[in-house]
């Protein structure tokens, strides 16, 4: 059985904090698949994750360049499939290295390349609830991601973020 939790945030700063809590649980080989409409906060969450993974530089949207690389405690591949229209194109991106290598992959607009992602990954779906509030549905799809999601759940019960 896979774990799934729902967490609300009330601001971009809280979303960044949630990213920090998630990032603290990630390690080499983990993949986080992010889904949500334009302006949902995918890049903001990725910023929090990257900081927790020890990267202190700029984490900007990879929409145009498709892949940003950051060097933290592990290599971070910040991928954006927004401009991908055909999954076959992902083959050309060197997806094996990105999604099955030793780094952590953060994949925005992951729905455009689901079949190329590993089966065991953390799926994050972001819904907007008004201008600032966001609802994060975070789901595990295998044993490794279940450890991460359970860990996140445990961390949230002691923090300010609202668990629903």
């Amino acid at each position: 059985m896979s774990a799934s939790i729902v967490i609300g945030t009330a601001s971009a700063d809280e979303t960044r904090e949630l990213g920090g809590a998630l990032g603290a649980l990630l390690g080499a080989g983990d993949v986080v698949a992010l889904r949500g409409e334009l302006g949902a906060g995918k890049t903001v969450l990725a910023q929090g994750i990257a900081v927790a993974l020890g990267f202190d530089g700029y984490v900007s949207s990879p929409t145009f360049v498709i892949v940003n690389e950051y060097r933290g405690l592990v290599d971070i591949h910040h991928v954006d499939l927004y401009r991908i229209s055909d999954e076959a194109e992902i083959d050309d991106l060197g997806y094996r290295e990105l999604f099955f290598g030793d780094g952590v992959a953060l994949v925005e607009w992951a729905g455009r390349g689901s079949s190329f992602l590993p089966d065991d990954r953390v799926d994050v779906h972001i819904d907007s609830a008004g201008r600032e509030r966001r609802i994060f549905t975070i789901t595990a799809s295998g044993p490794r991601s279940e450890v991460i999601v359970r860990g996140l759940e445990a961390s949230q019960t002691t923090s300010e973020a609202t668990s629903i």
Partner: protein
Amino acid sequence: MLVLGIDTSCDETAAALLLDGRDILSSVVASQAIHAEFGGVVPEHASRAHIRLIAPIVEKAIEDAGKEASDLEAVAVTSRPGLVGCLLVGASYAKALAYSLGIPLVGVDHIEAHVFAARLERPEMRLPAICLVASGGHTELILVKDWGRYTTLGRTRDDASGEAFDKVGKLLGLDYPAGPAIEKLARGGNPKAFDFPRAMMQRGNFDFSFSGLKTAVRYAVEDRGGRPEGQEFTDFLASFQEAVVDALVTKTMWAAAEAGVPTVALGGGVAANTHLRERLTEAAERAGLDVVIPARSLCTDNGAVVAAVGQALLDRGITSGLDLDVSASREDARAGREGTA
């Protein structure tokens, strides 16, 4: 010296011949931009298209210049930052050509190439200068202390300015690329009709943020139950464009004042925007600064600016070996040339 410049860092396959670092003998750009349902280009995927286009584009650049391949004296190629698969196409082709002709090869930074648009436009421009590089993937304020010596004073913390145009265009149902479409549709609009946010507008902060503006546009459309129509739509777009341009121009001028430079300059695809060109020119003239606004063909991705950087590197005795590596990011690759670029 006759230098061939090649750029395959993103969606365009580009090649140009540059003589002595200033005379553009030819410049050929094949855009792969294809209208896509998602409001972005289909990067097709870019690397495959680059493979198909690279040889004919380079051959056309040589032919347009009235030259032969054997006339080339060096090959410059964008080696970072960009999509590795795309960069590899240009770099591999450049290596093979340089090797077969027995001429030097030099790897070039794509952002530095955008900065060199100003130098090609006005070779005698006064330095130091503040150069705003604004494109689909990058928005940076760069202090050009000398050609080859730069400090990045600020960057975008989320979306690049060109990305803001494209994503807002997508929200409003406009065709890709949305920058030119918004500029055209905003003409005659009231830029003060809608109050869109300018982020991080504290003096001394040279970073940009356009993500909040994108979200504000989204809510403005949602609140109205759809995009405005008629004159109101024109005003809406003019107000959005004004918000982007205002942030870019204000911070460029702040940076120029803080650094005490005599010149401000533009580069990158967003620099093709007429409103940005006019606003920066006005602001610089008001402040008594020189302003260099390169021709649009130098602002968007092209091989001439790559050749120009290549020439400058060659002039300093810098070449790359045939083991030239490509890199998705700037920082990694820059380490090898610390102090010079």
